[in-house]
C-alpha cells in the first residue's frame, strides 16, 4: 500500500509546513460547514478539485480512483435529500417521495459540501507525512508532546491491530461461531471482536507507556526534537495562494450575484 501512495513528483504542497497546512484546511472546512451559499460552496469544490488534481503530484488515474467514493457520496447524499428534503414548491410527488425546488437546492448544497470536504481531505492526506505532521504540531503549534507521541505510537501499532482483527475473524470462523439475527447479533459481533482486541491493546499501550517513562520520557518537560520542522518561504506562498483563491471565489459567489 505505501508504494501506491508515493507521488510522481513532490510538488510545492509537500514543502508547506504540515501543521500549518492542517490548521488552514480545518479552518476552511469550518468555513464550508457553516455556509449555506450553493454558489460559494460549488466554487470551493472547483478550487479544491484544481488543488488536488493539479498540485498533489499524483497521476490522474490514481486520483480518479480515489474520487469514486467521493462521487458516490455526492450522489447518494444529494439524491436522498432531493427525495426527502423539505420544501414547498413541489415539482414531483409520489407517495413519500417529494421533489421540490428547495429540496433540489438543499441536495446540491449537501452533495457539493461532501465533495469539497473530500477534496480538501485528500489534498491534505496525500501531501503530508503523518510523523512530520505531529512533530510540526509540537514545534509550531505547541501541542503537548504527550498527545503527539501517544498518537505516533498508536499509529505505528495499526498494522498489529489490523492483523489481530484478521486473526480473530479467522478464529471465529474456524470455531464455527454464529451470531443471532438483528440488534442482538450486532451486539454479539461487536463483543466477540472488541473484548480480545481491547484487552490486548490496553496491555500493549501500558507496556509502551512504562517503557517510555523508564527511558526518562516526562510529560511537560522541555525537549528537543529528532525531526526539526520550521516555517519556510513555501508557507508564505501557500497562505498567499489560499487567500487569493478564497477571496476571488467569494467575489464571484457573493458580489456578482
Amino acid at each position: 500500500m505505501p508504494a501506491w501512495f508515493t507521488p510522481n513528483r513532490e510538488t510545492w504542497l509537500f514543502r508547506v509546513n504540515p501543521a500549518l497546512k492542517f490548521m488552514i484546511f480545518v479552518l476552511l472546512l469550518l468555513f464550508t460547514l457553516f455556509t449555506r451559499n450553493l454558489a460559494f460552496v460549488s466554487w470551493l469544490a472547483v478550487l479544491f478539485g484544481i488543488l488536488l488534481y493539479g498540485f498533489s503530484g499524483y497521476p490522474i488515474r490514481k486520483l480518479a480512483l480515489l474520487s469514486i467514493p467521493l462521487i458516490i457520496s455526492f450522489a447518494s447524499s444529494a439524491f436522498t435529500m432531493m427525495l426527502f428534503g423539505k420544501g414547498d414548491t413541489v415539482i414531483w410527488q409520489w407517495g413519500l417521495f417529494k421533489i421540490s425546488e428547495e429540496s433540489i437546492q438543499h441536495g446540491l448544497l449537501l452533495g457539493t459540501k461532501s465533495l469539497t470536504f473530500g477534496f480538501v481531505g485528500f489534498t491534505f492526506l496525500l501531501t503530508v507525512q503523518p510523523v512530520l505532521f505531529f512533530y510540526a504540531m509540537m514545534q509550531q503549534f505547541r501541542l503537548p508532546s504527550k498527545y503527539a507521541y501517544s498518537f505516533i505510537a498508536s499509529i505505528r501499532l495499526l498494522p498489529v491491530v489490523v492483523e489481530e482483527i484478521q486473526v480473530r475473524s479467522n478464529a471465529l470462523k474456524v470455531r464455527g461461531i454464529t451470531f443471532s439475527r438483528g440488534m442482538k447479533g450486532w451486539g454479539e459481533r461487536i463483543q466477540a471482536y472488541a473484548v480480545p482486541l481491547f484487552a490486548q491493546s490496553i496491555r500493549r499501550a501500558q507496556r509502551i507507556a512504562i517503557a517510555m517513562e523508564a527511558k526518562q520520557y516526562q510529560m511537560g518537560a522541555a525537549r528537543t526534537y529528532f525531526y526539526p520542522t520550521s516555517y519556510s518561504r513555501m508557507d508564505v506562498v501557500f497562505i498567499g495562494v489560499i487567500s487569493v483563491s478564497i477571496a476571488s471565489v467569494s467575489m464571484v459567489a457573493f458580489v456578482m450575484n
Binding site: 484546511f25 460547514l33 423539505k86 481531505g121 504527550k146 450486532w186 451486539g187 500493549r204 507507556a209
Partner: protein, 189 residues
C-alpha cells in the same frame, strides 16, 4: 481531581485509534446496508458514538471521553474519511464529556452511558443542521434522528457497558483505574 497519567493518556488514545479501525470495518457493513435498508442503517449508526463513552467507562477519569473521541475521529480522517469527521469527533466527545462532568465523573451506569451516547448524537445533529443533512421533511427528520438516538443509546448504554464488564472480568482494567479510598484503607487493616 484524578489527573491523567501518561499511561492513561496512551491507553485512551490507543482505545480511540482501535475504535477508528473497528469503525472502518463497521463502515463496510454500513455501506452494504445503506441503500437497501434505511432503518437498519440508522440503527447501525450508534457505533460512531461509542468511542468516548467506552473510553470513559474504561478509565473513569476526566478528559478521557473527549480525547478518545478525537483520537478515533483522527484515525478515521487519517484513513480517508475526510477531515470533517474530526469536527464531528470533537463535538461528540465534548457532549459526552460534559454529561460525565455534570455527574462529577462518578456515575458509570448503563443509563448514564446511554444518555451520554444520546448527547453525542444530539451534538452530531447540531453539526448536521449546519452541514445540511437535516433539511428533511419533518417526518423523515424525526424518523432518521429518532432511530439514530435509539441506536446511540443501545450502542453506548448496552454494548459499551457490556464490553467494559467483560474486560473487567479479564482483569485488564484493574491496573488502569484510579484506586478508591476504601482500597487504600484496606491496606491499613
Amino acid at each position: 481531581m484524578k489527573k491523567l497519567t501518561f499511561t492513561d493518556l496512551l491507553i485512551t488514545i490507543m482505545v480511540g485509534v482501535v475504535f477508528g479501525i473497528l469503525m472502518k470495518f463497521w463502515d463496510d457493513l454500513y455501506t452494504v446496508v445503506k441503500p437497501m435498508m434505511p432503518v437498519a442503517r440508522q440503527l447501525l449508526y450508534g457505533m460512531w458514538f461509542m468511542t468516548g463513552v467506552f473510553a470513559f467507562l474504561l478509565i473513569r477519569k476526566p478528559g478521557v471521553a473527549l480525547i478518545a473521541s478525537i483520537a478515533g475521529a483522527g484515525l478515521s480522517a487519517f484513513i480517508g474519511h475526510g477531515l470533517e469527521v474530526l469536527i464531528y469527533g470533537f463535538a461528540q466527545g465534548l457532549a459526552a464529556e460534559l454529561l460525565f462532568a455534570a455527574f462529577r465523573y462518578r456515575k458509570f451506569s448503563m443509563v448514564i452511558a446511554g444518555v451520554a451516547g444520546v448527547f453525542s448524537c444530539a451534538a452530531s445533529f447540531g453539526l448536521d443542521m449546519f452541514y445540511g443533512y437535516a433539511d428533511l421533511e419533518t417526518w423523515a427528520l424525526v424518523v432518521k434522528y429518532g432511530l439514530r438516538a435509539i441506536s446511540a443509546f443501545i450502542f453506548t448504554g448496552v454494548f459499551a457497558v457490556l464490553i467494559v464488564r467483560a474486560l473487567e472480568a479479564t482483569g485488564v482494567t484493574q491496573s488502569i483505574r484510579p484506586v478508591a479510598k476504601e482500597e487504600y484503607s484496606l491496606l491499613d487493616r
